[in-house]
């Protein structure tokens, strides 16, 4: 069963006085199955960020719909959208978006506190996640006291602690060095193996090569997709590179 169904999403931005119109998404159409690990690749300006904002319910499509776990995002009222996002989606951002004035533990608790959970529940929820992400020892530290990789792992913990239907990751390795990147991608794979559905937007081939499926977006539409099948990360890496080369040299769809 598809956990996420993106149906003919179109997004057009109009400048304030209705002058020029910019078509960011022309027609995006895809599904994500439960437990899948999907990477979306594309160059700057391809519409990646717009798509992610729509999936995150931060923005609404001009036409088309997004159905998450059987519920249409269009049908959710503005008032409920924050609560919906909190309950169903987890976010990992490129620049971590941790709050400086909270310890890592409090940063991870934040969505639970907003949801009004009990302290005992929160304490029970954090331990297994912190253990899996290897940050149990540094929970009491503040963001400015830990490395970038540790910050991002704390951000992942914050995304996971609500047990979301879907984790949305926006260029999660963008601000990390190569070692931290490898560690984080390894973690993402492990999280995915535990059954968590992940959708990641990236333009890093290495990041995408960990996914089970890679979608390519160009000019506001899904242009191509690659399945991992039984191949290794390295094989997928090679396929993605080839595809990107093809894209860059102006290959036609499904060439």
């Amino acid at each position: 069963m598809a956990i996420l169904d993106v149906q003919h999403v179109q997004k057009i931005y109009t400048t304030r006085f209705g002058g020029s119109r910019v078509q960011a998404l022309t027609d995006v159409n895809f599904k994500v199955e439960r437990g899948e690990y999907v990477a979306i690749m594309g160059e700057s300006g391809s519409g990646k960020t717009t798509l992610l904002n729509i999936l995150a319910a931060l923005d609404r499509p001009t036409s088309g719909d997004v159905v998450l776990n059987g519920r249409s995002l269009n049908s959710i009222k503005d008032k409920q959208i924050s609560a919906f996002r909190r309950d169903n989606l987890g976010f990992v951002f490129q620049d971590f978006n941790l709050l400086d004035n909270f310890s890592l533990r409090d940063n991870i608790y934040l969505p639970l506190v907003l949801a009004g959970r009990r302290v005992t529940d929160m304490e029970a929820a954090i331990n297994p996640i912190a253990k899996m992400l290897g940050i149990s020892e540094i929970l009491e530290k503040y963001p400015y006291e830990v490395s970038g990789g540790q910050k991002q792992r704390a951000a992942v913990a914050r995304a996971l602690i609500t047990k979301p239907q879907l984790v949305l990751a926006d260029e999660p390795t963008g601000a990390l060095d190569s070692r931290a990147t490898d560690q984080l991608l390894e973690l993402f794979s492990r999280v995915n193996r535990s059954g968590q559905t992940i959708l990641m937007v990236t333009h890093s081939v290495r990041a995408a090569s960990h996914a089970s499926r890679v979608l390519f977006i160009r000019d506001g539409a899904i242009f191509h997709q690659i399945y991992r099948g039984d191949g290794t990360d390295e094989m997928l890496y090679q396929t993605i590179s080839d595809t990107l080369t093809l894209l860059a040299t102006g290959g036609e769809k499904n060439a």
Partner: protein, 675 residues
């Protein structure tokens, strides 16, 4: 040519672009320039100096000018600091785009020049308008008994220019130092750099509590005027330091305690606001403590000076129980000749002025203050240190002849007896004055009018059987106290019929006679003092108390202006800090309403804490201020209580208005970052 014009243009456009944050700064500059110039102009004006009691007014005004100068410097320095902190990014950008630090310095110099020009122009214009207003207020307060013409005074302009050029130069130097010290990358990121969490400083927190408690205790335990006068500044300093320590250290300790309470802390509102306050309490605490102290200053200054001015009539009546009191000192125990001639001449003068004498009383008297022993009967003439005011007794002694004449009664006194009337406390039945043992016969009320004492000691009025006995008492205390002893003198006191103006003329004539014509070698006995109610009211009390009230209001306005500006910049700078944080919270699923309500909860707490603390300070200052007011002759505690409450009411309304206004600015900044 082109290149030269670049920097002024850049400076002008920078001011325009940062208009919202610069406008209050410009207003504060212009406001302080205006206030300072007004005070200096008033203090230097000849028509002010020529007023009755002009020297008092000029002294008060110049003291006020010093206070204004100090607070202007503090305010402008603080405000400039906030602005420059938020503009570091802009300078970093300039630097990265290829401007050298000296070019940025040039831009800053032009900016300061523009700021100075605008503030001087606006301030001088404001001063011109408001000096007229101040003139009208002063004339009104002095009951129109003046012809005040305050003109333009170039000297005041020069003094103001010198002071504020100095202040602006200092702010410029500080900004240049900030630019000079920093590296461009730091400039770019300075706003997002996380401030470390403050440490709990238990010692400082406890010290703050102790200092504050000590200051409060000092005020509550004030038992007399001397006490109040000597302890006032100590108490003020204790409370100021206590407040700063409490806000900086205690607030952090307290917030950390809240955070340790998990049940309380992990609630949406508390979670965000407690951590938010804790996060920047280090920087905030000073601002909050300053707001608290300034608010207290406004409340105390305005309420006391208003109360003095409003209670002036009572004060003057207290000090002058009769319209005119003239004293002729005895030569030792011998009544000077020509005493009657002096009294007769005074009656003539009053008649020449066309007024009538009422309630005339003539009597011999001696009065002195000494310690009374624990037995409540024996007077202790020893000279000793550390005597408490409640051990003291002021004795006013008269003789029976005068008493009988004034009251029109006949009194039989046994040998060793005296009539006595005690204003308060236990009645005294026996009195031992050295070897003189008196049995006191109580009487109801005392017809010779109230004394002129301002310092309230317990008072005993006593009528001795004859003049010899009075002389005896005089000599006993004379032997003990020497030249500090009370004198034996013959008084004439009376009231006048007629309007205030007529009284004023008449009293001046009486005083002229007392000062010039009466004397040892004339045919009139020398009058040592002639205290005249209306004359003193117009030349001493009214100018002093009115100018105190004027300065009180003036400083009140200044403190309010400083408070408002600090509050505004606090809100703006916090809004800028918070915008990013609330953006993140929205991304992880906080609703707009939740953001709003947590902003409100945080801002409300931080905002009304200083007002609350100021109210507590003012309440605890009350006992001590009550005694200080007594030193000015003000004994109406109810009036003081009413004016304090009134001031607090007005101030609280003003404070809330400022809050609503600045909260809007804050919300705009926090919301604006969303897009």
């Amino acid at each position: 040519m082109r290149k030269l014009a670049l920097y002024p243009k850049l400076a002008a456009s920078a001011l325009r672009k940062n208009f919202r944050i610069y406008l209050p700064y410009l207003l504060a500059c212009a406001g302080t320039v205006m206030m300072f110039q007004m005070l200096v102009a008033l203090g230097l004006d000849e028509s002010v100096a020529r007023l009755n009691g002009g020297t008092d007014i000029v002294t008060t005004l110049s003291l006020g000018a010093v206070v204004v100068a100090i607070f202007s410097a503090i305010l402008l320095f603080y405000t400039n600091g906030v602005i420059i902190r938020h503009r570091k990014k802009e300078f970093g950008l300039y630097n990265i785009l290829g401007m050298e630090k000296r070019h940025i310095a040039l831009v800053l110099m032009w900016e300061t020049l523009y700021t100075a020009l605008i503030s001087f122009a606006a301030g001088a214009a404001g001063a011109l308008v408001f000096t007229k207003l101040a003139q009208m207020i002063i004339v009104r307060m002095l009951h129109g008994s003046t012809d005040l013409r305050i003109g333009f005074n170039p000297v005041s302009l020069m003094v103001t220019l010198a002071l504020f050029l100095g202040i602006f130069l200092l702010t410029l130097l500080k900004n240049l130092a900030v630019i000079h010290r920093s590296r461009p990358v730091e400039l770019l990121h300075s706003e997002s750099m996380g401030e470390r969490e403050p440490k709990s400083r238990w010692v400082l927190a406890m010290l703050g509590l102790i200092l504050l408690a000590a200051g409060y205790a000092m005020s509550i335990r004030t038992a007399d005027v001397y006490n109040a006068l000597t302890n006032f500044f100590i108490a003020v300093i204790l409370v100021i330091f206590g407040t700063y320590f409490l806000f900086t250290a205690f607030s952090i300790v307290f917030l950390k305690m809240l955070r340790r309470n998990k049940r309380y802390y992990y609630r949406t509102n508390h979670f965000v606001s407690v951590s938010g306050m804790l996060y920047r309490m280090k920087r905030n605490a000073m601002g909050l403590a300053s707001i608290c102290i300034l608010s207290t200053m406004v409340l105390v200054t305005v309420s006391t000076t208003f109360c003095l001015y409003a209670g002036l009539d009572d004060i003057v009546n207290g000090m002058h129980p009769s319209d005119v009191i003239c004293k002729v000192n005895y030569e030792g125990t011998r009544q000077p000749e020509n005493c009657e001639a002096s009294w007769a001449r005074i009656r003539e003068i009053v008649a020449e002025q066309g007024l009538k004498i009422e309630n005339e009383q003539i009597y011999d008297t001696v009065s002195f203050t000494t310690r009374i022993e624990d037995d409540g009967a024996t007077l202790d003439f020893g000279v000793r240190e550390g005597v408490k005011v409640d051990e003291l007794l002021t004795i006013r002694a008269f003789q029976l002849d005068d008493y009988e004449r004034i009251t029109g009664t006949e009194v039989e006194l046994e040998p060793g007896e005296a009539l006595a009337w005690c204003e308060s406390g236990e009645p005294i039945e026996r009195l031992n004055i050295s070897d003189l043992h008196l049995k006191l016969v109580p009487i109801d009320g005392f017809p010779i009018l109230r004394s002129q004492d301002t310092i309230e000691t317990r008072e005993l009025a006593m009528v001795l059987p004859d003049a010899e006995m009075l002389a005896r008492v005089y000599e006993i205390q004379k032997d003990a106290y020497g030249r500090f002893a009370g004198s034996l003198h013959r008084d004439m006191r009376f009231d006048l019929s007629g309007s205030a103006d007529e009284k004023y003329e008449c009293e001046q004539a009486v005083r002229a006679f007392a000062n010039k014509e009466s004397g040892t070698n004339s045919k009139y006995a020398p009058i040592s003092t002639a205290s005249c109610r209306e004359v003193d009211y117009r030349t001493d009390y009214l100018p002093l108390y009115a100018s105190l009230f004027f300065i009180g209001m003036f400083l009140g306005f200044l403190f309010v202006m400083v408070t408002v500006t600090i509050i505004y910049y606090k809100q703006v700078s916090e809004g800028m800090d918070d915008a990013g944080r609330f953006e993140i919270m929205r991304k992880v699923g906080m609703t707009r309403t939740e953001v709003r309500s947590s902003i409100r909860s945080q801002v409300l707490t931080v905002f009304f804490l200083p007002l609350l603390a100021a109210a507590v300070h003012t309440a605890f200052a009350f006992p001590m201020m009550k005694w200080l007011l007594l030193a000015f002759g003000m004994s109406d505690t109810m009036l003081y209580a009413r004016s304090t409450l009134g001031c607090f009411g007005v101030f609280a309304i003003l404070y809330i208005a400022v809050y609503l206004f600045t909260a809007r600015a804050y919300n705009r900044i926090v919301d604006g970052a969303r897009a």
